[in-house]
């Protein structure tokens, strides 16, 4: 290219002159910037492939039939591949939960705040200990409910009360209450934004 006759007429200003921006600097910065942006864009598919795919996100709601859960019983259901505890509290358990002064709690919440209005007996929480993610005992018949009558985590001894609030042990938070709504009086959709 440079041997073409026309190239002899290159204006003086674009040729290296010691000082200022040379054409080569412009080309170099342009090329490296272009390649750099392209390289970063090429990383995108390598990163997004790790995030949950659409079929995993489609599991984000689970319908639960609670018609057969008697007071004092509970069931364990799977939501997003994680256990959810659905518990029908007895009046005694509700009274116990409401008798606790909020100031004595590590993560202060009332039972009413953790349930739906008028459905205070239905305690629905994630069955995942807020310490390090084990599944606490206490939902199944005859399992150790711990000294506070709620749940007991066998991994590191966290103890939850009848409102599934942390009372003793290393867990920092109460058992998480997921979004859910009563679609009928006996059906709960877990994962749906509640009304």
């Amino acid at each position: 290219m440079a041997t073409k006759a026309g190239s002899a007429e290159v204006p003086h200003s674009v040729v290296a002159d010691g000082e200022g921006i040379r054409r080569r600097d412009y080309l170099k910065i342009g090329a490296v910037a272009f390649a750099g942006v392209g390289g970063v864009v090429a990383l995108a598919p390598l990163l997004v492939q790790m995030s949950p795919s659409a079929d995993v996100l489609a599991l984000s709601t689970t319908e639960v039939d609670i018609s057969k859960v008697q007071p004092g019983q509970g069931i364990k259901v799977s939501w997003r591949k994680q256990p959810v505890f659905v518990r029908n509290l007895t009046p005694k358990e509700i009274a116990e939960a409401n008798a606790v002064p909020l100031s004595s709690l590590r993560d202060p919440q009332t039972l009413a705040e953790r349930t739906k209005p008028g459905k205070q007996n239905w305690l629905i929480t994630l069955g995942v200990c807020t310490h390090l993610g084990c599944i606490p005992l206490g939902i199944g018949e005859g399992e150790n409910k711990g000294p506070f009558g709620g749940y007991f985590c066998p991994c590191h001894g966290s103890q939850y009360d009848t409102a599934a609030r942390i009372r003793q042990g290393p867990a920092p938070k109460n058992l998480f209450v997921p979004d859910y709504e009563f679609t009928t009086p006996t059906t709960v959709t877990i994962g749906a934004k509640g009304k």
Binding site: T3, A5, A31, A35, P45, Q49, S53
Partner: protein, 439 residues
Amino acid sequence: MSFSWAKPYEPKHPLAKWFDQRLPLPRLAYGAVGGGYPVPRNLNYWWNFGVAAGLFLTIQIVTGIVLAMHYTASSGGAFNSVNQLIMRDVNAGWLLRYAHMNGASFFFIVVYIHIFRGLYYGSYKAPRELVWMLGLVIYLLMMATAFMGYVLPWGQMSYWGAQVITGFFSAFPLIGEPLRIWLLGGYAPDQAALGRFFSLHYLLPFVIAAVVILHIWALHIPGSGNPTGVDVKDEKDTLPFHPFFTAKDGWFSAAILLAYALVTYFAPNYLGHPDNYIPANPLATPAEIVPEWYFWPFYAILRSFTVDFILPAKLWGVLAMFSSILLLFFLPWIDKSPVRSGSYRPVFKRFFWLLVIDVIVLGWAGGGAPNPMRNVISQLAAAYYFLHFLVILPLVSAFETPLPLPRSISDSVLHGEEAEAAPVGSKPRRTKAATAVVE
């Protein structure tokens, strides 16, 4: 390494000095692919394909690691894990899978060009014999890796590819059949075979990467060859790798990536076989069974033996196919001409291009279903392949009179475009270039 005028690594920043004294890794990189590696200044574009091959090895390893996060190596689940999970469900999975599929093809394209570059310019000759042989080892490892990778989606071509290629080993007398059963872990490809193919398909690319390091190391002892084949004599003959060849390799890699992107996005299945989208069926072979395009020439050699002659035809085919590659290891001793570059070897040059055509014909012959006409053509082409290396090349190197070589690389570069392009000794057409210099 290499030349006395190679610039030593001189870190300026105190932290770089501190690091260099403790672990001279930047020094190593500087000497290998930085300003400290002097490269002949007259390299043409055929010399860009080594870096391109490294680029595609990297692409294959990166996309492969990611695909392995989603792939299931089970005979019941492999097909769906590729065609349902990866192609439809995983975010950008279709892109990663197509990039990996076509990355393999492009890896072979650039490696074939790289190999033929070596054949034309005599890159296998002293003192670079080991560079050549290590390259062949890489090529063999690539073939094994590509074959096992093709089995993983567990479609019809995967399955029957596995059956046929492990069948090669059954050609050997006595040990053949037990060897095949041992390789497969069964009488036909199944879970056991798929599991080991996946494991080895993941392992071998890292072995390739290790041999690539040896390949580059061995190359850097004498330094890169060049289109004249004349040894580097002094500093005037070379330029530092960085920035001159990093820039040239950089833009050329971008050009190759563009071609790769075009195929990956607009014709992702062009280089593959549609039957591999049919799940593996151990009870029915597809009507047309051919390997991936990069194996076609060898497949033609394999199929060109149709008559028993002392040994069974099957064994002849397998032996011929293996030896078609193995004889390349002996190339430094088959071609004894002291002149490296084909540009200065008028007879060799013609036979080189005949070989290129022959390999393309073999590829055409291996890529289609066998019929009498195709069989005859592939037999002739296979015979010529061996004739080229075993008869023609030794004779040419014994009797050919090469053209006079330039005194040095700079000498060949410094008398204008026309003369540079033409071998020294032949008369360049003194027309435009000469007048341009006068002007």
